[in-house]
């Protein structure tokens, strides 16, 4: 077995061929993998699945609008040090104890290779990705306060997700492997549902998917139902024991699929029900 084909998806996570390829290319080249796609197509789950499939620890760095690139490297807790200096409980000349490693730093110093998920990178400031360029390229950074250089013991497998709320800078993109997760087609969706509900009745599955894709076709919906909503819905269907005959004639529990009140109201008026 070559070292290339490492990732095949997991029992609970079906990855398309193109996605598997992208993941393996990213691992082989040691580059970050940037994943985009509609909400609910499993961007974040991908990192979990890679970690599970390869038996590696997962470190998650959730990005918020206030996150700064430096937060991922380390934080120098000046306020704590200042506070300690007032009361003299600790030796404040040792700056090291006030340096806290961020998620990226944590991934670098780990004794074994880890999977690092940088979730929703587009939430942060526009310049955020640029500030990480060097760190992701060289997999090392310098702590000014202590004069220490933290270098990755093992290059982490970096997965970055984006909802394209902001465009990412070109220089950053050039260094990434990119993959756009498409919404699964019916065939693949069948497979996905089956791994979650192995015993599902054939007719029920067919009917549910038919309804689901018909819903998604309605252009005017504010929020189209996604995979996770479908899975929830099917769970409800199974739990309530709805037969496929009944499902055929009416769309039961539409609230599980559509989360927007206007969408629900519109649906009541249409013939999909």
């Amino acid at each position: 077995m070559s070292t290339f084909n490492k990732f095949f998806g997991t029992e609970k996570y079906i990855a398309s061929e193109s996605l598997r390829n992208a993941v393996n290319v990213a691992i082989a080249l040691g580059r970050p993998l940037l994943v985009k796609g509609e909400p609910g197509t499993g961007k974040t789950l991908l990192a979990h699945s890679i970690a599970k499939a390869l038996g590696k620890r997962l470190i998650v760095w959730n990005i918020k609008s206030t996150t700064k690139a430096k937060d991922g490297l380390y934080v120098y807790d000046t306020v704590q040090r200042l506070n300690d200096s007032r009361f003299g409980d600790r030796d404040i000349s040792d700056i090291k104890q006030y340096i806290r490693l961020g998620k990226l730093g944590e991934a670098f110093v780990s004794d074994e290779q880890v999977v690092l998920l940088i979730d929703e990178i587009d939430k942060a400031d526009l310049e955020f990705p640029n500030d990480l360029l060097n760190e992701l390229d060289e997999m090392s950074f310098y702590i000014h306060e202590t004069g220490e250089t933290i270098k990755a013991k093992h290059r982490p497998i970096v997965i970055i997700t984006s909802n394209s709320e902001k465009e990412l800078p070109d220089a950053f993109l050039r260094r990434c492997i990119f993959h756009y997760i498409e919404f699964p087609d019916r065939e693949m969706m069948e497979e996905i549902v089956r791994v979650h509900f192995p015993g599902i009745e054939e007719n029920l599955l067919k009917e549910a998917l038919k309804k689901f894709y018909r819903l998604r076709k309605i252009e005017s919906l504010k929020k189209k139902p996604s995979t996770s909503e479908l899975l929830d819905w099917i769970q409800v269907l199974l739990a309530s024991g709805v037969s496929h005959h009944r499902l055929k004639s009416e769309l039961v529990f539409p609230g599980v699929l559509l989360k927007n009140e206007a969408d629900l109201a519109q649906l009541r008026g249409s013939e999909v029900l």
Partner: protein, 419 residues
Amino acid sequence: MRQIWLNCAGARCCEEMFTDFFYILREKGVPVSITEWMTLMEALDKGLADSSLERFYYLARSILVKSESYYDHYDLAFEEYFRKVGDLSQLREELPGSKLVLEIREELLRWLNDPINGINLSEEEIEKLPRMELYELLDLFRRRLAEQTGRHDGGNKWIGTGGTSPFGNAGQNPAGIRVGGVSRGRSAIRMAHQRRYQNLRSDLTLDVRQIKVALKRLRLLARSGPEDELDLEETIDATCKNAGEIELVFTKSRKNIIKLLLLIDVGGSMTPYAQLCSRLFSAANSLSHFKDFRYFYFHNCIYDHLYTDMARRKKFGIREFFRTFDREYRVIIVGDAWMAPSELTNRYGAIDYEDVSETPGIVRLREIREHFDHVVWLNPEKRDIWERKSIAMIREIFPMFELTLDGLDEAVRELVGRR
């Protein structure tokens, strides 16, 4: 079965061969850089394409293309390049006598001619099927179509699905015409050919979310509001001055100071673009990140009034407009700028009675340009017709951009830039 040609030693021969692919990609508008190209070479060198063109399709795409909006451009380039490689005579000229080339060519030809579902037939069976040149096929196709009166599935003659007739969908004839439907094959050129990512192209359409993303970049940060952010530097300074007794200093947080005015042309020739404009409007309106957002309507050109409603009943005088909105406001005018030149240049030239004014429209437009520091004009009409008189005249006054994602991006850049 497939030959290993993409990971030949050192990848040198491949590099030479592929350079054309690089240029075709750029020609099609995929922004590929040398860095990415070298990464692809590195990947090929490591044998990551394995031995299949399909793998290569994904490999090259994940390395070279960084946005789903370029997937379609990539598909076009991929198809063009690899169809060309399939042409033997051209290849001979490029690299005479190279064995590799012959291998590639055979590989490709086999691949192009052999639909995936042909696997069900043996070689001999395939040989037995009638093969025809394209013109023969087309001719026969027309005749069959004329003879055929109904739906047909299976069999070996009529146009339909399945079967071994050269016509129809999902059939097994090695050379044949596919009639609509979904291809069963998943080979790379076919995938490229299907152009599944066509509607992700950013130069074609815009949805609300995309507009929002573009407009979000319309921002200038400045400190304002309550003092609720700890200013570390100042705190340390103050604390030192205070002989070590902690003194906390707070500062105002940074907020967007952009104020936006949206002026929309409604009615007449803008009707086909009403939906596009309303998307732009709802995007701007639902973005809460502007310090102020106001909108007005007009028809064709701006004269003595703007209107606060789409039906153009409630007037808002231009003098008051200038008084209310200072030069800091960023102005986006949306319109096709397409009208009779007289509507721009003549006194009393307005097309609507209500709008008729002594001041020619073009003078008003210049006034608007002068009053505000940043004004852009977004035009939903394609650039090809921008040479038309009235559009050209307005372009002289305002920087004009297409109402596409790319155009919007450029416009936003213009709006936040220094004048």
